[in-house]
């Protein structure tokens, strides 16, 4: 029953240069993904989730970003850290990525079939004919209708949903062990989103893939993944099995965020926004980054930055830490639900 750790991110810090300023956009991030597991990396804009994905894959833009410290391990060996980025050899073959799809994720001048076939030709050395055949089969598997026709089409001739299927085909062509999906359905309609998530999860089962789903949509994470990493201002705030985290969050940010999502269950039309605004990553405050908006904040939170540590499981008598839940809050063992103060308009 011991899960096999496939990917381990360890104290990852990524620095970003904007103009003449350099600041850490991701700080001391640590989490694990086991083989065949689906993990969600959730956070709002500016939380650093896309950069994390790029760092794992080794495609951080070197002009503006730098892996300042920390390591990434894959299959037991270190692939990034100590000044080196993930080597090209792993990309597409062991770790693959699907991006958010505005039209620009695919080369507009090359037919989609060739963009898929490229994987077979470049990585496996297939001939044109062999690559084409493999591509057509793959296109059927990802649900692209009329593969023969579609092969010759250009990206702009396809709808958003079909383009994403092409991206998925490209990503899964060489049967990688880890698929990173960075906001794969954000730009798409909800019925198309359902189709695509269904496809991704089905292929995950078939291929035994691990999936890292990056999203700001907490509900999407709940439907697709079993473990969640909640990020805020470049740090991990909470990590744990998704259902447990949603039912009993161990961090006030998670609790506030869950509360702020407009209820999808009929009956209540009450809204509980988080007061204040997300912090500017370029100007970091001392102490916990969430404390200005936190309902549990104390003076200690202003001065001392909490570390991501295991949470004591209240159900275990011996007081041993539950190894699957982590929280970066000084009061991680004593989180209280958000108080509902009637008649208070949000302090925005």
């Amino acid at each position: 029953m011991a899960a096999q750790c496939l990917l381990e991110v360890n104290e990852l810090t990524i620095e970003v240069r904007a103009g003449d300023k350099v600041y850490p956009a991701v700080r001391d991030l640590s989490f694990r993904i086991n083989a065949g597991e689906a993990v969600a990396l959730v956070g709002e804009s500016g939380s650093g989730k896309s950069l994390t994905a790029q760092a794992i894959l080794g495609i951080l833009p070197k002009e503006t970003t730098r892996l300042a410290s920390g390591n990434v391990f894959f299959g037991g060996s270190r692939i990034a850290g100590g000044g080196t980025q993930t080597p090209k050899g792993l990309r597409g073959t062991e770790i693959a990525m699907v991006f958010q799809d505005p039209v620009s994720s695919l080369n507009p001048l090359i037919v989609v079939g060739d963009q898929i076939a490229e994987m077979f030709r470049e990585h496996r050395g297939d001939s044109r004919a062999a690559a084409r055949k493999a591509t057509l089969e793959l296109m059927e598997q990802v649900g692209l209708p009329d593969p023969l026709e579609r092969y010759k089409q250009y990206p702009h001739e396809l709808s958003g949903g079909l383009r994403q299927r092409v991206m998925i085909a490209i990503a899964l062509s060489l049967k990688p062990r880890l698929l990173i999906a960075d906001e794969p359905t954000t730009a798409l309609d909800v019925t198309i989103q359902a189709q695509l998530m269904d496809l991704i999860l089905r292929l995950k089962e078939e291929y035994g893939l691990a999936v890292l789903l990056i999203t700001h949509d907490l509900a999407l994470a709940a439907e697709a993944t079993s473990k969640i990493v909640v990020m805020y201002a470049g740090r991990a705030m909470e990590i744990g099995p998704l259902a447990e985290v949603y039912e009993r969050p161990d961090h006030p940010y998670t609790a506030s965020l869950l509360r702020a999502v407009p209820s999808d269950v009929g009956g209540s039309s009450d809204l509980y926004p988080i007061p204040g605004t997300p912090p500017d990553p370029a100007h970091s405050v001392p102490g916990c980054p969430f404390h200005p908006r936190c309902y549990m904040a104390t003076p200690r939170c202003k001065t001392s930055t909490p570390r991501l540590e295991a949470v004591l499981d209240p159900d275990m008598h011996a007081g041993l830490a539950d190894p699957s839940r982590y929280s970066a809050c000084h009061y991680r063992d004593a989180i209280v639900p958000i108080p509902i103060v009637p008649g208070v308009v949000s302090r925005d």
Partner: protein, 309 residues
């Protein structure tokens, strides 16, 4: 694709026709008898009468216009009042000199653009880049005759390395071509730089990197063609301008090209030659634009197939 080409062709012919019409109107708008205007102050009354007849000046305007177009189609733009020879032949004779100069200048521009452009792109957003880009901007603004005179003083006058004027052997090409190439190089450098940066930052290059392709494959298959589209536009425009905008450079270096003839003709009110020159420049631009448009459609399927989704 065919409809696209046909449409471009129609458009090209339409523009040329428009140019001719404007030429016709302008000549007729100059005060005085058009025949006298075209023949110049030294013409005899007989010559004036003869030309008036040929041009049909006593006829209604539409007929004159038709006559004008008919003459043009046969290559008859009238006679140069300066030299007394057919204007069309006179101009045509000078085309090779301008074309050769334009070609040499274009080569310099291309070399400069494709070596310094990528260089600037690689240091983008640094202090050095900002400094270099402002130098490029500044250089672009320098007037060509000023550059010409500086170069002449240095290389021809002081060092005596290169001829000061005229077209002779390859030495004579150097200074005029460099002078002409200066501002155009600056423009191309900036265009290549931003073209490279745009492509580098685009989504599909990120996808290509995520696919684990080698940098060379990424460059050759994904960056190159995509970069070419904006660069192609500007190179086309520049080629047209190198040919037709060389008047001042040709004059300073006494280069026997169309531009020099053009300036002289204006000074001497040799309207026949001016007519031909203007029309020639129009043809060059339209021709180059048409070619660029066709190349576009060949490279970019979005244009070829129409922007649908």
């Amino acid at each position: 694709m065919l409809t696209y080409v046909v449409r471009r062709l129609f458009f090209a012919i339409f523009v040329l026709w428009g140019a001719l019409t404007i030429i016709f109107i302008v000549i007729r708008s100059i005060p005085g008898n058009p025949a006298e205007v075209l023949l110049g102050p030294s013409a005899t009354p007989d010559e004036v009468a003869a030309l008036s007849n040929r041009l049909g000046l006593q006829q209604p305007l539409p007929l004159q216009y038709a006559l004008f177009l008919q003459h043009v189609v046969h290559g008859d733009f009238g006679t140069s009042s300066q030299f007394g020879v057919p204007a069309f032949a006179l101009v045509l004779q000078r085309v090779p000199a301008s074309a050769e100069l334009a070609a040499v200048a274009m080569s310099i521009v291309l070399v400069a653009g494709f070596t310094l452009g990528p260089l600037l792109a690689s240091i983008a957003d640094t202090k050095l880049d900002r400094f270099a880009t402002s130098v490029v901007f500044f250089t672009q603004a320098l007037p060509d005759f000023w550059i010409a005179i500086l170069l002449l003083m240095m290389f021809s006058g002081r060092l005596g390395l290169l001829p000061a004027e005229g077209k002779s052997d390859w030495h004579s090409f150097v200074l005029p071509a460099i002078t002409l190439a200066f501002p155009f190089s600056c423009v191309l450098i900036r265009f290549v730089r931003s073209g490279i940066l745009d492509v580098q930052r685009s989504g599909y290059i990120q996808t290509a990197r995520a696919k684990g392709l080698s940098p060379w494959v990424i460059f050759r298959r994904h960056s190159l063609r995509n970069m070419l589209i904006p660069v192609l536009t500007i190179v086309g425009v520049q080629l047209g301008m190198l040919f037709s905008g060389a008047a001042i450079v040709e004059t300073v270096y006494n280069w026997p090209g169309v531009g020099q003839l053009f300036l002289n003709a204006i000074t001497y009110r040799d309207y026949s030659v001016v007519q031909v020159d203007v029309f020639l420049f129009a043809c060059v631009f339209v021709g180059i634009n048409f070619t660029v448009d066709i190349l576009y459609a060949y490279i970019d399927p979005r244009i070829r197939l129409g922007r649908e989704s």
